[in-house]
Symmetry: C2
Subunit: 403 residues, 2 copies
C-alpha cells in the first residue's frame, strides 16, 4: 500500500519552511524541520493522552496554551521522551536558540520531537541544525519540511485545500508524519496545519477539535497511543479576511475544508501503516447513540482477528459481530446486518445464502473498502473508524531489530 | 512452544468420561465429550461477557444457576453461535437426549459448544454421538474427553491436584481447551473442573470466582473475548468430607489447590497461543490499588508493540512504559522501574547503563520469563497477567483460510 504523493509545489502565504540534515538520523536524511510565520499567528493544539509524554509535548502544550505562536521546530530520529533533565535542557535550549535567531519570543516556538525514545536529544547537532534551518527558510520548501518530519514513514504526507472566504483566496495546508506507533520510533503522529486565514484562537481551537475528532481520532493501526502525538494549527491572517467565527457560513466552509485536509492526511497515515496492504473503513450505524456507535467501531477496528481476516480477504462476519459483542454496548445479534462494500453477508443475524460470501471475498481483494455494520437498535447513532489489515510484515517489522 | 503434556492416567471418584467421534469435525477426530457424575453434584460456572453469545452458553448459564448438575456435554467443531432458532432446537434436543439416556433431569445437563460459528449444530451427528458417548462412558477416559474438546489446540490440556481434607484424599482435576480466540473456531475457552470433595454450591461459586480471577481472567493471547467462553466446576461429594466452608483452614487449602489447577491450565492455553513462541508474565507492583495494577498489566500485556518486541527478544522498555502510560492510570515515569527477569533495564525513569540491555536480551531468548514493572507510586497494589508473543505465524494462521 506504500504509495507516493505527487510533490506539487505548494505555498501558504506568510509561511516559510526548511527541512535540513542536522545529524540525528544515522541515515543522513533530513531530520530537522522548521516552519516560520512572518507574523504572529493564532495557534491551537491537540496532544497525546498518554500519561508518559515527551518533554517537547509538555513545552509545546504550554506554549500553545497562550494562543499565539510563530514557529514550529520538529526534529525526527529522536523523540526525546523518557530522557529526564538532560532531555529537557536540550529542548529548552533549542526553543531559545530558534527564538533568538528568528527574533521572536521563546513562547512563540512550538517544539516537536519524534523518533527513538530514551535517548536524550543530542545538543550539538541541534545547535548546528537550527542555525542551518533558519538560513534555509524559504516559502517554496514545504516538502523539505514534510520530509524532515519522517521517521519510518514510507512517504511524506501533505494535503491542502484552497477556498474563497470573504472575497479572499485562502489556503489550508497540512504536513503529517506517522505510520503506526512503532519503535524505536515510538512517537507516531505529528501534524502541522497552516493557513493564511484570519482565525481567532477560540475559533481555531474549535475547528481543530472538530477536524481531529473525525480524522486522527478515528484511525487505528495498532491501537498504541504514543508518547509524542501532537496536532497543531497555525493561522497567520495573511489573507486579510474578516476574523472567522465558527458558526458563520464562512466558518462552516473553512471548518469543512480543514476537516477534509485532516481526513486526507489520516488516510495517508493508515495507508502507510507498517506492513499494511489494505485501508478499511468500519462504518457503524443504527446504534442507540453516537458514543455507542464509536465504541463498536473502535472494538471492530482494533480486533486482531478482524484485522487478520481483512488481510486474508475473508468476509468473516463472525469475527466482526464477536468484536462488536465485547464493545460494552448492549446489542442483539438478531438485529445486526453486516455488509462488505455493498454486499450483505449477515442480515438481521442470519447469514445471507447464495454467493454473497464469494462476492464479498472478491471485493476484499481491493486495497480500500468499507465494512458496514447496522446494529438495528432503532437508534440513529453512527460512527466510522479507518483501520489497516494486520500482516506478517507488520510483525516482522516491529520485532526484527535489536536495541 | 507447542508441547505435549504426558498423559498420566487420572481418575476422579464418581465421575465417568467419554470422548467420541460423532462426525462434526471434517477431520474425523473426537468431537463429542461427555462427563457424568454418578450422583448429583454441586455446580458453579463463569460465562463469557460477550453480548453476542452462543445458545449453549445461555442454556448452560440457566442450568448452572440452579446450583446442581450431573453431566456436561461438549461438542467441538461447531460453536452453534449466531445460529438462531435452528441452533437452539438442536441444543435443547441434545440436552434432553442426554438426560433421558442418563436418567437425570434435563436441567442437570450443562451443554457447551466450541468451533465454527454461524452454522447450526447438525442434528443427526449429535443424536448418534450422544448415544455413542453414553455407551462409551468410563472412569478411565478423562483424556478422551479432553481430546474431544479440542479445536485448534495443539495438545489436550489437563491438570490435577490431590490433597487430604478432613482425613479423606480429595482429587481436583481440570480439562481445558483454548488457544487464542480463533476463527472459524471463535469459541476459545472451555474448562471443566471436577472434584470428589463435598462443597456446597455457594462455597463452590466463591472458590471458582477466586480461581478464575487469577488464572483465566489474567491471560491474553489476542485480547478477543469469545462468544462461548465457559468455566464450570462440579463437586460430587464422593470423598465424604464434611462440607467445605470458604473461610475454614480446609477451605483455604482447597481453594489454593483449585487455583493451582486453573493457573496451570491457563498457562497451557497461553503456551498453546497460536503461533506463540514465548509465555511472558507481566507483573506490576507499586500501584495505588490492585485495580490500577491490573489496568496497567492488561495494557502492557495487550500491546501489539510489546508483544512483537517479546517475539524479537528486544528489551524495549520504551514500549512498555508507553503502554503503561495509556492504561488510564495516573503514573510518573521518573518513579518507574522495569525489569526483564532479574535485570533492571529502567530504574526510576532512567535507562540502566552498562550491559543491562544485552543481558536482558539474552534472557528474553527463553520460552518463559517475567517482565516486572514497579510503578513506584507509594502504594502496594500488585497484579499479574500472562501474555504470549505476537509472531508472523499468528497472522498467517488467522488469515490463511477461506470461508
Amino acid at each position: 500500500m506504500r504509495r507516493e504523493i505527487r510533490e506539487r509545489p505548494l505555498r501558504v502565504p506568510g509561511f516559510r519552511f526548511a527541512g535540513v540534515t542536522c545529524g540525528i538520523k544515522p541515515s543522513g536524511r533530513r531530520d530537522l524541520a522548521l516552519i516560520h510565520s512572518e507574523v504572529p499567528a493564532t495557534v491551537a493544539g491537540v496532544f497525546t493522552q498518554n500519561r508518559v509524554r515527551a518533554i517537547a509535548v509538555d513545552l509545546a502544550a504550554r506554549h500553545v496554551r497562550r494562543g499565539h505562536g510563530q514557529a514550529v521546530l520538529i526534529n525526527s530520529g529522536n523523540a526525546n521522551a523518557c530522557t529526564g533533565a538532560a532531555g529537557e535542557r536540550v529542548a529548552r535550549a533549542a526553543c531559545r536558540q530558534t527564538a533568538i535567531a528568528l527574533g521572536i519570543p521563546v513562547s512563540a516556538v512550538v517544539p516537536c520531537s519524534t523518533g527513538k525514545i530514551g535517548v536524550p536529544l543530542p545538543a550539538v547537532p541541534m545547535v548546528r541544525g537550527i542555525a542551518k534551518a533558519v538560513r534555509a527558510l524559504g516559502d517554496d520548501r514545504l516538502w523539505h519540511a514534510a520530509r524532515a518530519m519522517m521517521t519510518t514513514d514510507a512517504f511524506p504526507k501533505v494535503a491542502s485545500r484552497r477556498l474563497r472566504i470573504d472575497g479572499r483566496m485562502v489556503t489550508i495546508a497540512g504536513l503529517a508524519k506517522g505510520a503506526g506507533m512503532i519503535a524505536p520510533d515510538l512517537a507516531t503522529l505529528i501534524v502541522c496545519l497552516l493557513t493564511d486565514a484570519t482565525v481567532p484562537t477560540p475559533a481555531l481551537r474549535g475547528f481543530l477539535a472538530d477536524a481531529v475528532a473525525e480524522s486522527f481520532n478515528a484511525i487505528t493501526v495498532d491501537g498504541d497511543t504514543s508518547t509524542n502525538d501532537t496536532v497543531l494549527a497555525l493561522a497567520n491572517g495573511y489573507a486579510g479576511n474578516a476574523p472567522l467565527a465558527r458558526t458563520s457560513a464562512d466558518g462552516r466552509r473553512f471548518g469543512a475544508a480543514l476537516a477534509a485536509v485532516t481526513r486526507e492526511l489520516a488516510d495517508y497515515v493508515v495507508a502507510d501503516g507498517e506492513g499494511a496492504t489494505k485501508r478499511v473503513r468500519i462504518a457503524v450505524r443504527g446504534a442507540r447513540s453516537g458514543r455507542a456507535a464509536r465504541q463498536v467501531a473502535r472494538s471492530i477496528a482494533g480486533s486482531l482477528l478482524v484485522k487478520t481476516a481483512l488481510y486474508g480477504g475473508d468476509p468473516n462476519w463472525g469475527r466482526i459481530v464477536c468484536a462488536a459483542g465485547y464493545a460494552g454496548v448492549p446489542l442483539r445479534l438478531e438485529r445486526m446486518t453486516v455488509r462488505i462494500g455493498n454486499v450483505p453477508v449477515l442480515r438481521r443475524g442470519a447469514p445471507v445464502p447464495g454467493d454473497a460470501e464469494r462476492r464479498a471475498a472478491r471485493l476484499m481483494r481491493q486495497s480500500a473498502f468499507t465494512v458496514g455494520i447496522d446494529l438495528g437498535s432503532g437508534g440513529t447513532g453512527a460512527a466510522a473508524m479507518t483501520t489497516s489489515d494486520l500482516t506478517p510484515a507488520y510483525v516482522r517489522f516491529n520485532s526484527a531489530y535489536s536495541t
